[in-house]
């Protein structure tokens, strides 16, 4: 690994949004909404421009860049610094985070304009950008951990943004607590790294790990570290078994769902696993676990997505499923494919969420797709961009999702056909539920409240949390919201072309390949396998088309059919619609016992029975004793004299006894 080039601009990128967050957070209450927007957008946009500037000047020859800002911890030979680091991997992440983040900032201006806590929202968003960029640009695991925890905090604050609503507050709590479980694993992994390698600095650490041969027989230290890191990634990136918080996180405002719970934060786990590829490559069993978890999550949550009726819930399960794809890619050793999908996913899933937000905005806060329909007439722009995003996520060529998904499937096939098969099935389901969403939302006739009410009466009726103005019939969103949608749509269309001819993979090669021993991770596809690759491509495209066809059949041409099918399936359908009762299972297995145990044993048993009782009983004892002893102080002179005489007698008796002895 070449020594890093110093680049003093690096630290400005995370600091700029922090400054924006500080200004808006401290002074936002008094300022006008225009000023708040200006500050939030300026600082976030400046970070984006700076990132672009660095990206333009980026050359693989001088990479990686780094900038040590300040010392942090010094303890014997162990040290951690505030140190920023930029290589090809973090460059991609940085551009995605600042780019998509900036677009979502613009969108939020329109979406959140009527909210009374507008300044708080903008400050939180900027704060999130700061932590996310710290995570991405960190040079050591500990700084990454700061960012990691920070984005968790920002996520908690933003999920519970409408904290007066009980469901939002508890969804925020749930996200935070479930993430703690993952962070626990991450922390233990860091402790193991410190104990055995004495450093958390990426280049130094990986240089020490590099000579270690893979733990093919049995599981050793690196396997343990890898698995623990994966526990952390499972928490942050919502994989089985810790995915349950992400669907609930949809209680937050829609731009938050787009930015944090689709495009950036939830991909931090993938980034972390990719960043730790040196460890995972030397721990094949850990890598297998990553692949299995990813594959299972992809399939499992995709099936849940079929039966959801809340537009954001469908997208949430879709996100979890797509994250599963990324982990599957990492698990089969195709880290660059995983990162590639991460990037394209950030485009189209961010777009999907923002478009869903536009829909919700347009119909006055309604999220139930059964009450939508026919919106293509009312909001043509949203319809167009959401259609593009749907095509992209379904994997229809030549849109972005096709390239990255195909890359993953091809890589998975070269490792095991099982991964590939599940991946293809998932692709089919993905395509189905996405087009189902499209047909239910935009197809048919409008079924919302405005449809029943007189169209002429433009009085405001009841509207949801998202919106503060009256609603007659659905309307298109303002341009400040549509602009980012269009930009993201363009990216969703063309974003996949960076992967043409494996250019994206070669760009990331210095990160993933340079350190690998020759022969360990050789390019798998050879000339003879080209035809196999085309065949796989054809299969995944036809599967996507099949999903579309099925959705068209069920939700457009025969809208009565789904209900009948659901009836036929009975219990199975109910299980899927209720998310396989996983939340209930967790509640029964972990939450209830914990609450009951805490209540009966810890609270009533130990706290009240032992600690409180000890204090109360000693107070009682003191009172009883002094109640008795109080009678000595009778005020009766002769009783005092009696005590004196008795005392004297006692002293004499003692002295006599001592004398006799």
């Amino acid at each position: 690994m070449t020594p890093p080039t110093s680049n003093p601009l690096l630290w400005l990128i995370p600091i700029l949004p922090l400054a924006g967050a500080a200004i808006n957070g401290f002074f936002g209450r008094q300022s006008s909404k225009k000023a708040i927007s200006a500050i939030a957008l300026t600082f976030c946009g400046a970070a984006f421009l700076l990132a672009l500037w660095i990206a333009i000047g980026f050359s693989s020859a001088s990479a990686p860049y780094s900038f040590p800002l300040a010392h942090w911890l010094r303890s014997g030979s162990f040290s951690v610094d505030f140190d920023f680091y930029l290589d090809q991997l973090s460059l991609v992440m940085m551009l995605v985070v600042t780019g998509v983040g900036f677009l979502i900032h613009i969108y939020s201006v329109g979406y959140m304009w009527d909210d009374e806590s507008y300044y708080r929202f903008m400050a939180y968003l900027n704060l999130f950008m700061f932590f996310m960029l710290t995570l991405v640009l960190a040079k050591n695991y500990l700084m990454m951990f700061i960012g990691w925890e920070g984005v968790g905090l920002a996520s908690y604050l933003l999920i519970g943004f409408w904290f007066t609503k009980d469901s939002a507050a508890s969804a925020g709590k749930k996200a935070f607590i479930v993430n703690r479980i993952g962070d626990f694993g991450f922390l233990i992994a860091l402790f193991l790294l410190i104990q055995h390698f004495g450093t958390l600095d990426f280049p130094a650490l990986f240089a020490k790990i590099q000579p270690i041969s893979p733990e093919t027989t049995g599981a050793g230290l690196l396997t343990a570290i890898g698995l623990l890191l994966m526990v952390g990634a499972c928490g942050k990136s919502a994989q089985i078994p810790l995915y349950v918080w992400l669907p609930d996180a949809m209680e937050g405002p829609t731009p938050v769902s787009a930015l944090i719970h689709a495009a950036t934060m939830v991909t931090a786990g993938v980034y972390m696993v990719a960043r730790s590829h040196m460890i995972f490559e030397r721990a094949p069993s850990a890598l297998t676990v990553v692949a299995i978890i990813g594959t299972l999550t992809a399939l499992f949550t995709a099936t849940i997505g079929i039966a959801q009726t809340d537009i954001k819930k469908v997208l949430a399960y879709s996100t979890v499923s797509q994250l599963g794809y990324m982990f599957m890619a990492c698990g089969v050793g195709a880290f660059s494919a995983g990162i590639f999908h991460l990037m394209t996913h950030a485009f189209f899933k961010g777009l999907l969420f923002l478009a869903a937000g536009s829909v919700i905005h347009g119909v006055g806060g309604e999220q139930d797709m059964r009450k939508m329909g026919g919106l293509r007439l009312y909001m043509p722009w949203t319809f167009t961009v959401m259609g593009i995003a749907t095509l992209a996520i379904a994997g229809i060529p030549p849109l972005a999702g096709f390239w990255s998904k195909d890359e993953i499937l091809a890589q998975a096939f070269s490792v095991s056909w099982v991964y590939w098969l599940i991946g293809v099935v998932t692709a089919f389901i993905t395509s189905f539920y996405m087009f189902r969403l499209m047909y239910m939302t935009f197809g048919g006739d409008y079924r919302g409240a405005g449809a029943q009410a007189s169209h002429a009466a433009h009085k405001s009726h009841g509207h949801g949390k998202d919106d503060a103005h009256g609603h007659g019939e659905p309307h298109e969103s303002p341009w400040v919201m549509l602009g980012p949608l269009v930009v993201l749509a363009i990216l969703s269309v063309f974003g996949g072309f960076v992967g043409l001819g494996n250019r994206f993979e070669h760009f990331l090669d210095p990160v993933f390949k340079a350190a690998v021993e020759p022969g360990l991770q050789e390019p798998i596809r050879e000339a003879g396998e080209k035809s196999t690759e085309y065949l796989l491509m054809a299969i995944s495209v036809s599967v996507a088309a099949l999903g579309w066809l099925l959705a068209h059949l069920l939700y457009s041409s025969r809208p009565q059919l789904p209900a009948r099918i659901a009836e036929k399936l009975g219990g199975l359908y109910k299980a899927v619609a209720n998310k396989y009762y996983v939340d209930e299972l967790y509640a029964a297995l972990f939450v209830r016992p914990l609450i009951d145990g805490s209540t009966t044993i810890l609270w009533k048993g130990i706290d009240q029975g032992v600690i409180d009782a000890a204090v109360n009983d000693s107070a009682d004892a003191a009172r009883h004793i002094s109640d008795e002893a109080r009678h000595m102080q009778s005020g009766n002179l002769r009783s005092y004299a009696g005590w004196v005489a008795a005392g004297g007698a006692l002293v004499i008796a003692y002295m006599v006894w001592m004398g006799i002895r």
Binding site: G635, N636, L637, R638
Partner: protein, 100 residues
């Protein structure tokens, strides 16, 4: 010559009589006399030891005690008279203004 222990036993008996009288009696004059009894019980042991060890200090000390006792008697009796004038009783249990 009478052995020392006889004097000491007598002294102890006198002292205990004084203590018991002090504790049991309610009449303030009797209590006062009990105190004198205790003092004299102690005086007896002083002189007994002084005679035994041929040391004058014990006897000198007895004089001091007598002087103090005389002074005390003077003051004490004055108080008793004052008490009787105000309370019209010599029963200590009824002189209880300071009690709660």
């Amino acid at each position: 010559m009478v052995p020392l222990s006889y004097y000491l036993v007598l002294s102890g008996i006198l002292f205990v009589c004084g203590v018991l009288g002090f504790l049991i009696k309610r009449n303030i004059i009797t209590i006062f006399m009990s105190i004198e009894l205790m003092l004299n019980g102690v005086n007896l042991s002083f002189v007994a030891f002084a005679a035994q060890w041929h040391s004058l200090s014990g006897q000198i000390f007895v004089f001091f005690v007598m002087v103090v006792a005389a002074a005390e008697a003077a003051v004490g009796l004055a108080i008793i008279i004052a008490v009787y004038r105000t309370r019209e009783t010599l029963n200590v249990d009824q002189v209880n203004l300071l009690k709660l």
